[in-house]
């Protein structure tokens, strides 16, 4: 097992599936009008890349995702810290946030358009909202899960409240917070697809809607694939951060 490089091992199943898919398309087992073959998708991808169309839509989608995620995650971190650190903060924020969380925010797009107009605001709000809850919940939980003996240690050595937050609470909450961030990447990205499919003139989601109207399945799948690749890259970045920020841990890495 160890002779095959790890990355290759991980790629084995997806590559196999794609090969199988191509094979099914070649033999006519799947209808090309409903599902394009991998080869057609590659062709569409090359064309859209050459024309610059894909880059433009990707750029605008990325901008929305990053802006929304930055807003959502920042606000969520602040709210999570406030609620996590003090009972007062918890009483003030937590029930409200939990109540809003139960609303299906993906269904709120029409409202957002009414409130924020037709510009970028409603879409960025959607992404922000999508990333807010996972980050908030995990920051809050991370803080409340900090070993209280370490808080005791801080008091025993008479450190200031600020030092206690910086040296004990924030690093202690970090593993959980980063899990929240990884979840948030997923929900943010998903919110973006939905937002871009409703009332947008650009972005990958818009590309999908247009292609749907024209029944261009290769473009739909290309756009989905791009979504997926960006999602994987974003996740890899967070995992890299995780590995650096949490290198003090001794954890089970899988046998």
């Amino acid at each position: 097992m160890t002779r095959v490089p790890r990355t290759l091992r991980r790629a084995l199943v997806p590559i196999g599936l794609i090969a199988l898919w191509q094979l099914l398309a070649e033999t006519g087992a799947v209808d090309p009008r409903i599902t394009s073959s991998p080869w057609e998708i590659v062709t569409a991808l090359t064309e859209m890349t050459r024309s610059g169309e894909l880059a433009e839509h990707m750029r605008i989608s990325l901008f929305r995702a990053v802006a929304g995620l930055a807003c959502g995650a920042t606000l969520a971190t602040i709210a999570g810290i406030a609620a996590g650190l003090s009972r007062f903060g918890e009483d003030a924020l937590d029930s409200t946030i939990q109540a809003i969380r139960t609303m299906p925010y993906l269904g709120m797009v029409p409202l957002f358009i009414l409130w924020f107009g037709l510009g970028e605001a409603p879409r960025i709000t959607m992404v922000a909202l999508g990333s807010f809850f996972p980050v908030y919940l995990n920051v809050f939980k991370g803080i409340r899960d900090v070993d209280d003996r370490l808080i005791d240690l801080g008091r025993g050595y008479r450190v200031s409240r600020w030092e206690l937050i910086r040296d004990v609470i924030v690093p202690g909450a970090m593993p959980s917070a980063l899990v929240g961030l990884r979840y948030a990447l997923g929900t943010a990205w998903m919110s973006l697809v939905v937002a871009e499919q409703i009332n947008a003139q650009s972005g990958l989601g818009y590309l999908i809607v247009q292609a749907n109207i024209l029944a261009q399945t290769s473009i739909i799948i290309t756009a989905l694939a791009v979504y997926a690749v960006i999602g994987i890259l974003a996740d890899a970045i967070v995992r890299l951060i995780e590995r650096r920020a949490l290198r003090w841990r001794r954890t089970f890495e899988g046998a």
């Binding site: 050595y157 450190v159 040296d167 003090w248 841990r249």
Partner: protein
């Protein structure tokens, strides 16, 4: 309730407890504890596990806001908890310098010196979770010693150490106590350790200080000494271990969960 007035710091007692009590739920773990520790005194607390020694130490450290009674502690104190209690996300030297202020290079140098003193030179960059139990406990000791406190509170600080390292660390603490005039209040369940280090051994039982055994032996002390053996015998008896009959020689350690036997209190 820390009294930082320099005048009392030099003249008054280092620790003064009067009528101190602590209940958990409806269980009174400590009740009516009176304790006075003089400046530069080395006092050791012994007693069965669960009798409230750690609780008492935490009260002295000002970490228990639910304790009743009067607590006065003079000067700065540093505590070594029963568990090493290191921050796993800070390298060892950062743990040693925890709460200290100053330029990074200077803190690092101080931490490294303290680590060398506890026999862990060059381990400053290790992560706490990679240390053995005994190493972690020595880091915790270095963290307390690096700030040369007026009062050192030690909760079974050598329990996880191997016999050889324990001897070294005991000597280390004894040296520090002698040279820096540090008042020390230590919890241990090791009778020999208590007699090696203490000016006074206090036996905690039934929520109060049940017995006081002054150790008048000259330092450095030798466990083979006749006076030492007599005191050990007496202390073990107080802890409920009678060795006069069946065994040829006393073990160095008392069994941790001790006695239920009734006894008149000193």
């Amino acid at each position: 309730m820390t009294d930082n007035d320099p005048a009392t710091r030099r003249t008054g007692p280092a620790i003064s407890l009067r009528g101190v009590g602590r209940t958990f739920g409806d269980r009174a773990v400590l009740q009516g504890v009176d304790l006075a520790v003089a400046q530069h005194e080395f006092v050791v607390l012994v007693g069965a596990s669960g009798c409230g020694k750690s609780t008492l130490l935490r009260i002295v450290a000002g970490l228990d806001s639910d304790a009743t009674g009067e607590v006065q502690v003079a000067g700065e104190h540093a505590i070594v908890f029963q568990d090493a209690r290191l921050l796993p996300w800070r390298p060892v030297w950062r743990n040693v310098a925890f709460g200290l202020r100053g330029p990074r290079a200077e803190l690092r140098a101080r931490a490294d010196r303290a680590l060398a003193e506890v026999g862990l030179p060059g381990r400053g960059d290790s992560w706490p979770l990679t240390l053995s139990g005994g190493e972690a406990q020595r880091v915790a000791l270095a963290r307390a010693l690096v700030r040369t406190p007026d009062l050192l509170l030690l909760d079974e600080p050598f329990a996880a150490l191997d016999a050889l390292t324990r001897l070294k660390m005991q000597r280390q603490v004894a040296e520090l106590w002698r040279h820096h005039e540090i008042t020390t209040l230590m919890v241990t369940h090791d009778v020999e350790e208590a007699l090696l280090l203490a000016d006074r051994v206090l036996l905690v039982d039934s929520g109060r200080i049940a017995e006081e055994i002054p150790v008048g032996l000259p330092r450095p002390r030798d466990p083979r000494d006749a006076g030492f053996a007599a005191l050990r015998h007496r202390l073990l008896l107080s802890l409920g271990v009678d060795l006069s009959g069946d065994r040829g020689h006393a073990p160095t350690r008392a069994p941790a969960p001790a006695r239920t036997r009734a006894r008149t209190h000193a």
